[in-house]
């Protein structure tokens, strides 16, 4: 299964980006192959609609779960229809590597 995580940078040491639609990078982590892919967010500076455009991006990457600090109202209903699970982490100091560890221990 693939999990998307919003990241402030393009390395496992980077911290979680607390914003979904306007995060700096998306990390797509594959729980089976343990591979990670860092994707710069092309919607970061959109005037509007960054959330739905980012939802489309992570869905097109095959993510079934998305980890971020917060999600706006427009993407919540979209992810609902896409049947993608949202996971909110309030500790913005968490590193991507730590979040990946958490995902691995939960599975």
């Amino acid at each position: 299964m693939k999990v998307a995580i919003t990241s402030t940078g393009n390395s496992p040491d980077a911290k979680l980006d607390s914003r979904f639609g306007r995060c700096s990078y998306f990390v797509v982590y594959d729980t089976e192959s343990h591979s990670t892919e860092f994707i710069p967010n092309p919607n970061k500076d959109n005037v509007e609609g960054a959330g739905p455009a980012s939802a489309q991006l992570v869905a097109s990457k095959g993510a079934r779960k998305v980890v971020s600090g917060e999600f706006g109202a427009k993407v919540k209903s979209l992810f609902d229809s896409l049947q993608i699970q949202l996971i909110v982490i309030h500790e913005s100091e968490k590193k991507i590597s730590e979040i990946i560890e958490l995902i691995n221990t939960k599975n």
């Binding site: 509007e48 739905p52 455009a53 489309q56 097109s60 427009k74 229809s81 896409l82």
Partner: protein, 284 residues
């Protein structure tokens, strides 16, 4: 002539100025309309009452995609400048994000398969209230939860028709609702207060109006509060100071009772008339 009363910071006294300007013009026998363009929080009618003579619903079209007729060609998604259509061809997923739709109709043009029709979404209403033969209030009010009040503001301004003076009470801030209001004005009055917040937001509003090429001047409300920074800044930038309204408990009391300063204290009516005379000479 159309005059917009605006501010960067909220609560600086836009409605105080626009309602008193309206009252003073009305007393002077000028045909006048006051358009309450603060459609997310209209409050002019709390100060001036009139009889509702016209009411109009504002709505927009929203595309509806028939997934059975859709061939997932992606054209509508590509045509949409506002990212309002989310499209995932492999999973056969296509959905309209209604809040992002600007009712431009591009998706209808894009679709060659007849999969897109439109439905109507109600955004708010515009009410015209006659105060007398010469004076009226036009109030725009957006429905709660509507993503943008701009279509309601545009309709509010369209209801004005050739009054010799139109006053546009603008929403605060400098985003789309503010732009939609001031772009129709011949002159803009920015109301500020001599506090750091007031000055900061005044600078943002002034920069936006310069960009739009709109002539403007400034009213300092609650004068006596804070410091002199605002006056220095106005001087340095050669921006006219149109009027000062003192920081006075009596003014706050009159306002909070829903009464008009120019009606209760005639000296202010004279001041607002002077302001009006001054503004008439400003016409670009």
């Amino acid at each position: 002539m159309k005059i917009a009363i605006a501010s960067g910071k909220g609560g600086t006294g836009k409605t105080l100025v626009s309602t008193n300007l309206f009252y003073s013009a009305q007393q002077a026998g000028i045909s006048v309309a006051l358009a309450d363009c603060d459609a997310e929080e209209p409050n002019v009618a709390e100060f001036i009452q009139g009889e509702i003579v016209h009411s109009e619903i504002v709505s927009q079209n929203i595309p509806v995609i028939d997934v059975n007729a859709c061939v997932f060609c992606g054209k509508c998604h590509e045509y949409c400048n506002y990212h309002a259509i989310v499209y995932l061809p492999p999973s056969g997923f296509i959905q309209v994000v209604e809040e992002l739709c600007h009712d431009c109709g591009a998706c209808l043009v894009a679709c060659k398969y007849g999969a897109i029709t439109e439905k109507i979404k109600q955004l708010g209403q515009v009410r015209t209230m006659a105060v007398n033969d010469q004076a009226k209030i036009i109030e725009g009010s957006a429905n709660v939860g509507v993503y943008s009040p701009v279509p309601v503001i545009r309709q509010t301004i369209r209801e004005l028709n050739g009054e010799s003076l139109s006053i546009l009470d603008s929403p605060p801030g400098i985003s789309c609702p503010f732009i939609a209001t001031v772009e129709k004005a011949d002159y803009v009055v920015l109301v500020t207060e001599p506090t750091p917040f007031g000055v900061n937001d005044l600078k943002l509003s002034a920069a936006t109006l310069k960009h739009l090429g709109k002539p403007f001047g400034v009213i300092v409300n609650r004068a006596g509060l804070g410091n002199r920074d605002v006056y220095e800044w106005l001087g340095q930038n050669e921006i006219p100071l149109l009027m000062e309204i003192p920081f006075d408990k009596e003014i706050a009391r009159i306002y909070s009772e829903g009464r008009l300063l120019a009606e209760v204290i005639p000296a202010y009516r004279i001041q607002f008339m002077k302001l009006l005379d001054h503004l008439k000479c400003q016409k670009a």
